[in-house]
Symmetry: C3
Subunit: 309 residues, 3 copies
């Protein structure tokens, strides 16, 4: 064997050797979400458990400011962000009012190859629908549980979910080793769908943009395009719409609002209809708070209707 | 030397070479805690200094929401989380009302091989007791201080603690190079210990769970087992206890509360006694706020008594 | 070729090979700042986009608690922290009330070799002055924009700034590939400069320390040294000064305050003048809130005068 050949063999062998430092099934990224806040040690304990599994993991956060026990908002945040993280990212979501009860602990693998480690309590409603269910497995807590944590029954986020998510992301276990396969379905929370009804768009208000008080609807821009197609507008921008909002059937707001490319399209303090970062219709005041001015909140009982003028 | 032998020698040599990328004494993880909040640049400056020491470090946080100057809560958070981080993790804790005064800047190495970089002002009270003191060293600020920061006397967290903690975690210095060895003791804050007194458990309320308003005691589950051993219960779960709480001798609460495996054991809004994630007894309302309902806070003057019914 | 020579060649070749894992122009660190808060998915989406560019990046934060639309405070925070991050760090700052309007999206390279990715709306006022402008380039959004995000006009922070900043830090693009070079200037917000006027120091209050209520001036310690040089004090510490504060010409405070090495120099609740972590003069109460006690805020219309007694 010549020196050159030896060299090539060695380089190849070492390449393989050091490539193994990279991760097999996961991509090495774990993203945490919870309703714990950042003021105590709970989030740091989850991060510590994850880096204890493998200190080469990237440990990141979605948010820990989900309102306590608000499974719907947890579902919403996961749905809003998942597509902006690379494939094979492992999300660990712990909004778990039923900790210790009989709700299942699961890992959802979506068709987009994202993983979601969470109690199956509705948290997966929206990602399952948007990204598609590839497979659901129940976490086998006999195997996938932080060693020494057996006496604690109230912090599954740390002892089971963080530990299992980190092991999956670090390829310490395969997806199959999470536990037994379940039927390809998740517990879903009902919510009002966006739709065209005659000459109107109808939808819900799943969330507010908390930093600015913008009102986010679940009506995709594509529905507005369908509705207005026959009108042959040169451009939708600056067109006016009658927007009505109601809560549980009770009238809250009716206002004529123009559709704008961005906030700068209207004067300071004026309302606009725009396309948010999720490609859905939203309402805002330029440099002011739409939701607080008009007393609008988010949730299943809220309904919005949009009619071209 | 055969090609195979050459190969083996080289693989070994390179393994050693690249293993050096890993860190010698520290494990490459620095965890920050402070009372700075996250709204200004202080925490980011500490992270920047750490990554300026070695950009391969993992820079993590415990919390930065310790109430201003609340050394006790800083001590509590460190104690609650340290064991969930791998050995050789370096904690940097900056709750430092006496910055610039004569309090010592130290690094505690515990018997569990965790490091704590902090002013010795009581912050180490609980980790020193739980994890055991292996060695205490005083930071030699002539050597272990960010270059160019000599004129600033008010941000030791960045200039001394972050810098020293990062250098220790990155193995830029050994523990010995921190500075001179001190007596193996730390400044300790007095607090009421948990104990059995005749037929009662007595203890304190070191902390509230801020996200949910649960009241955490310092009474370990093991004391409850000792107390109730003679009763030969089939199971402790659902057993009832008379719980009384007082502040500085003044009566605050007396309530009969059942011991439950988890929150789901009682109806919404009802109280329960349970084992928290630190294996201590705690009080909660299922999906509501125990502390605010009964006006209970945490601190040295609070006392809790638990009597089997 | 001897085995030793083969060994040396291979080690050198592999060293080069694995060194390439490091980054060319950027240093692999991206630091995010915004007015988004941490309660929704916006910050996590930016982090996800960055790690989608290259999962070996270090993704860090300055703060996301800039008050909504407060460009001045964004400028201030960048200026206060940049020097504590290593050269080649890429800062991505998104305080962008004019998103969608005609403000330019730029990358500033400073003479200190830091990069700032941001709308050119005043955010760069202070870092451009302190660190010096090496080169300014406009972001070519046709090339430097997250694939698939073209329909969204309201989240440039994620789609353009995070993506471009991450590509720069990961050396996926060179600085030249950001886009066309601009004149070496940035949009600057006017503010009152610190100066000596006869026997007085005059300056502004650019910011409060939000955690403690300390009042930070823009008067550097060096100006105090110049002013007091002729007095031949043995030490400045404990010297007394008449401090007056006014807002838009209206008197707010006049108080005799001593200059102290640190907070511990005065009794609890007493005021002091000290050098803050930016080497500027600042006002505080030892363990209490100066700004709220005396109703002082930050901003261009605030003026402070300091006269030796």
């Amino acid at each position: 064997m010549s020196a050159t050949k030896i060299f090539n063999v060695i380089v190849m062998a070492l390449y393989i050797q050091f490539s193994n430092l990279a991760f097999a099934n996961g991509n090495g990224i774990v993203v945490f979400q919870s309703d714990f806040g950042l003021s105590d040690q709970a989030v740091s304990a989850m991060h510590g458990v994850a880096l204890g599994v493998d200190k080469n993991l990237k440990v990141e956060d979605l948010t820990h400011d989900i309102p306590a026990y608000n499974i719907w908002e947890g579902a919403y945040r996961l749905d809003a962000v998942a597509n902006f993280w690379p494939a094979d990212t492992v999300f660990v979501s712990v909004v778990d009012p039923g900790v210790g009860s009989e709700r299942k602990s699961v890992v959802l693998k979506t068709k987009s190859n994202h993983y979601f480690v969470t109690p199956d309590n509705g948290t997966l409603t929206l990602v399952a629908k948007r990204l598609g269910i590839a497979e659901v497995r129940e976490i086998d807590e006999k195997v996938n549980r932080l060693k020494g944590s057996e006496a604690s029954h109230t912090f599954h986020g740390r002892d089971v979910y963080a530990y299992t998510g980190a092991r999956l992301a670090a390829s310490a276990i395969t997806f199959e080793q999470v536990g037994p396969i379940l039927a390809p379905e998740v517990l879903s929370i009902p919510y009002e769908a966006a739709r065209i009804d005659a000459n109107k768009l109808i939808g819900g208000i799943p969330i507010l943009d908390p930093a600015y008080g913008n009102v986010w609807t679940n009506i995709p821009m594509s529905l507005l395009l369908s509705l207005t197609k026959a009108k042959n507008y040169t451009t939708l921008y600056t067109q006016k719409f009658l927007v009505t909002v109601s809560q549980a059937g009770k009238f809250v707001l009716a206002e004529t609002i123009s559709f704008e490319r961005s906030f700068a399209g209207v004067n300071e303090g004026q309302p606009l209809l725009y396309v948010n970062s999720l490609e859905n219709l939203a309402l805002a005041l330029n440099q002011a708070n739409f939701a607080s001015k008009f007393n609008i909140q988010a949730g299943g009982e809220w309904r919005i209707e949009i009619v071209p003028k």
